[in-house]
């Protein structure tokens, strides 16, 4: 049986969800019999590939790079999973939202608080530009399944992935939500 094409991406999050995924230890070997890892922050692959079956999305959409990547993810993946609280709710990444636009946040952090004395970071093409509002993934693209927790427990990730792998094998069946 062909292996499913599996990916994970890391948007505005702390990578804790990926750490929790890695905490699945030897089960990852079993998973590798079912899926082929085609894109991930833990693999050196530059471009998000086409025809992905399942993609875990860690983190909220917080900057222009995230926005571009999540659109690529949606376009090229059958099952998009919001992976962890930042992806599902915005969580800690979205705690800046009540404080105003990205400009006012940067001014507050880089100019007004003690410690850092400017200048405002501005490296076009190198440092991605912050969006004014951090959004959970489903506010930007359609999401097929949700895995909450900060981070989700390894056992919960395992249960959901088992379910999604089975769903993805059966192409005609509606995706579990």
């Amino acid at each position: 049986m062909d292996r499913l094409r599996f990916a994970s991406v890391w948007l505005g999050g702390c990578s804790g969800c990926h750490m929790s995924f890695l905490d699945l230890d030897e089960w990852l070997i079993d998973l590798a019999e079912q899926v082929e890892l085609v894109y991930s922050p833990v693999a050196d692959i530059k471009e998000f590939p086409k025809n992905v079956d399942i993609c875990l999305v860690e983190g909220a959409v917080a900057n222009e790079d995230h926005l571009e990547l999540i659109k690529q993810v949606r376009e090229n993946s059958r099952i998009v999973v919001s992976f962890g609280d930042c992806a599902v709710t915005g969580n800690v990444t979205a705690m800046r939202n009540p404080l105003g636009s990205s400009k006012s946040i940067l001014q507050y952090v880089y100019l007004e608080t003690p410690g850092i004395q400017g200048p405002l970071p501005c490296e076009p093409g190198i440092v991605p530009v912050l969006l004014d509002r951090v959004s959970p993934v489903h506010e930007i693209v359609h999401v097929d399944a949700y895995l909450f927790g900060c981070p989700p427990y390894p056992s919960v990730i395992r249960e959901k992935l088992t379910e999604l792998v089975a769903a993805a094998r059966n192409e005609s069946a509606p995706v579990a939500n």
């Binding site: 919001s82 609280d85 599902v88 709710t89 915005g90 969580n91 800690v92 979205a94 705690m95 939202n97 009540p98 404080l99 509002r133 959970p136 489903h138 506010e139 999401v143 949700y146 909450f148 900060c150 939500n177």
Partner: protein, 238 residues
């Protein structure tokens, strides 16, 4: 003692005439979710989570303030009720900045438990991300408006059990906030006796003991039970 016989979810239930549908259901082992209701203080029927359907009526009724009636046919768990309950809890999450992962009440929170029990895995409404204050001017307690669901348990427990009426609500709609005294910092509220009943009554991490860090809070309702028993039964049982 007058009793009434009614049907709840197809089960015949007998309850005392003055009983509410909510209490009758729970005595019969039928679970109805609730949030603003708190044993020992008056019920307000404001959170709408305990809404039920009554045969012959188009109106949904809050079961916590609805008295039982002879022959009444109640449904507590229909697709319509399930959808409304889900919607209510999602709107509560969208209305403030709950950020469970960094909350003192994480894993010990009635709002989280509710979300789980009504089957929420994400919020379908746009988060409002309001600017909400945290007041830690009181020497022992704090109020984090980001996590308040406006259930008014603090208002009622402070007024009815402690007799201080330090807490109240100001504003309307999404601008509503719980306030202390004349909308002063809690630390300046002279009527507050620092008894802490509001902290124990609060279903979320909105009211907290200072010094509690993420996920450390444990609710202790025994002090409320103690006083309610003492007042109602004249028994001082610790």
């Amino acid at each position: 003692m007058a009793v009434k016989t009614l049907t709840i979810d197809g089960t015949l239930v007998t309850a005392q005439a003055e009983s509410t549908v909510f209490d009758a259901a729970h005595e019969a082992g039928i679970f109805i979710p609730s949030l603003c209701r708190l044993e020992g203080v008056t019920t307000t029927g404001s959170c709408r989570l305990c809404l039920v359907e009554i045969e012959g009526s188009n109106r949904l009724m809050p079961s916590c303030i609805l008295k039982v009636d002879e022959g009444m046919q109640v449904r507590t768990d229909t697709p319509r009720l399930r959808e409304y309950r889900k919607m209510i809890v999602e709107l509560l999450f969208a209305e403030r900045n709950h950020t469970c992962a960094v909350c003192v009440a994480n894993h010990n929170c009635e709002l989280q438990d509710l979300a789980k029990s009504v089957g929420i895995d994400h919020v379908r409404y746009e988060y409002t991300f309001p600017k909400a204050e945290v007041d830690i001017t009181h020497e022992r307690f704090g109020v984090d408006h980001n996590r308040c669901v406006l259930c008014t348990r603090c208002v009622r427990v402070c007024d009815e059990v402690e007799g201080a009426h330090t807490w109240d609500i100001s504003g309307r709609g999404t601008n509503s906030r719980v306030i202390t005294d004349m909308n002063q910092p809690w630390g300046d509220a002279q009527s507050c006796t620092s008894c802490g009943k509001c902290v124990q009554a609060c279903p979320t991490g909105a009211l907290f003991k200072q010094g509690s860090t993420v996920a450390e809070m444990q609710k202790d309702r025994t002090q409320l039970e103690f006083i309610v028993t003492a007042r109602e039964k004249k028994q001082w049982i610790g």
